[in-house]
């Protein structure tokens, strides 16, 4: 998704004025953006607290500012700067986090982001975007640029099955129809689910939906989704994020307070590092029971 993000911002930079800050990351990825933006592309160095404050300062004067780093270094290290400088002032700052979830794999837990969007969603004025596919990045970046409020973008590695044609981008999309319930996926894990579930008979698989914009709200949930949850009576949520503050908790809360709680609810989410062993993103998904095969087997 990183290349799609770079291409999207190169396009946007020709259309509107903004500044782009990086925390010394982007080698072999962001060079085209650097070339396109000139002095508005700023390497802020390995100093993420300052990077976010500077972004807020620029935005306070009317210059939209994007700040980019590996996920934990953009949402966790400068958390208070995001909370106070950006969100309290409702400034036009876009935080871009590369490597959401267990994306950095064997690089270790310091580089993972499994509680990021829960934390970001809790902040005043913050909008969160979690693209599921590389194709989502351009429309999401355009929406972020057009919206004058704080935003957090969690990038990952696109896992879309080859030749699969996605529906046009929307914050909620139905990817497959099924009958065993409704499976809501947040993040690139949707690709693996698509690949596996596409070969399963409709009678043995759930409706597969993907949500990309948080926090969730009942008003923006498609009526078809609500109807499918009601008629199937089962809701499954898959996300590469801990339960606390995740989309599963948001959905459960929304459905409960609106009197729409399904008979069955299962939440497949990250737990952390239960074995103390490290590996690829796939290794961590399997250990946490959030790989496509485990989840689809449980939704029958």
């Amino acid at each position: 998704m990183r290349n799609a993000f770079c291409a999207a911002l190169v396009t946007l930079s020709a259309e509107r004025q903004f500044a782009f800050l990086t925390g010394d990351l982007g080698f072999m990825a962001l060079e085209p953006l650097q070339a396109a933006m000139g002095d508005r592309f700023i390497n802020a160095g390995v100093a993420e607290q300052n990077m976010v404050s500077v972004a807020a300062g620029m935005a306070s004067g009317g210059l939209q500012s994007w700040a980019y780093s590996i996920a934990p270094f953009v949402y966790a290290r400068p958390f208070e700067q995001i909370r106070n400088d950006v969100c309290l002032h409702d400034l036009n700052v876009k935080l871009v986090a590369n490597g959401g979830g267990y994306g950095y794999g064997v690089m270790g837990a310091t580089h993972h982001a499994i509680e990021d969007y829960g934390v970001m969603s809790a902040l005043q004025n913050m909008r969160v975007h979690v693209p599921a596919f590389a194709d989502d990045v351009e429309p999401i970046a355009a929406r972020m640029a057009a919206d004058p409020h704080p935003a957090y973008l969690r990038l990952g590695r696109c896992e879309k099955p080859k030749d699969h044609v996605l529906p046009e981008y929307a914050p909620w999309r139905r990817l497959l129809s099924g009958t065993t319930g409704v499976l809501v996926v947040v993040g690139p894990g949707a690709g693996g689910v698509l690949a596996l579930a596409s070969s399963m008979p409709e009678a043995e698989r759930p409706d597969v939906w993907v949500a990309t914009q948080l926090p969730l709200a009942i008003e923006t949930m498609p009526l078809l989704l609500i109807e499918r949850i009601r008629t199937t009576g089962a809701l499954f949520v898959l996300e590469e994020h801990v339960a606390q503050g995740g989309a599963g908790q948001m959905l459960a809360h929304l459905l409960l307070v609106n009197g729409m709680a399904p008979r069955r609810f299962e939440h497949f989410h990250a737990h952390g590092y239960r074995s103390g062993r490290y590996g690829s993103q796939g290794f961590h998904r399997t250990e946490n029971g959030i790989d496509a095969a485990t989840v689809l087997a449980a939704t029958v």
Partner: protein, 260 residues
Amino acid sequence: MTPATRPNAVTPARARARLLQMHYEAKVGHIGGNLSALDAMLHLHTQVIGENDVFVLSKGHSAGALYIALWAIGEIADDELASFHKDNTRLGGHPVAHWHKRIVFATGSLGHGLGLAAGVALGKRLRGESGTVYCLLSDGECEEGSIWEAAMFARHQKLANLVVLVDANGLQGFGSTAEVASLEPLAPKFAGFGLDTIEIDGHSPGALDAALAGRSDAPRVILLRTIKGKGVSFMEGRMEWHYLALNDDQYRAALTELGA
């Protein structure tokens, strides 16, 4: 009215008396650090800062001095000062955002203002806008690592439109800056980051004017050597006035000293 033509009708003694009245009526502290910063903030707002300039109060606990400086130039009304620290006020114990064009940022958590100010300064340059960004830190605040991230950034970006003032009163929350962090010498620390650093008497408007003149292409740092509690003898140089509120006798004694 430009700063150059604006009469300085509010004397430092009058400003001090109004600041003490505000804190006395609200029964709150943070008086010492307000009094150490007041002379510089009053002079900046009455004589230096113009429409295109931005002032960032990084030491947000000196909000009272900011309100008084804005009152002195007619930007905050006297009856608004009466709401200080009360329910339904816009004059919080630390500045709050979204209500006054000259209070750009809600501050209070230390270490944020210099990065914000650097961003404002860089944004001005990128957009081709005029104006200088003034940022007031406390010396104790320089224990925050983010200050030095911002100092390095400001120097690297050659933010000549940035002026950093440090209210160096030598006292912080639970001891002197020497006892807590061996903070001094502070000037060589800023100078070591490549910032154009000067130390002055922080209560002298003339020294401040001189320090603001003749700047280089590097951000200027002005270390204001100040006295915590300045102007009230029983507060001067005493750490407890970081916290204490004035009782009736103390308030009367302070006003007498100030000739108010």
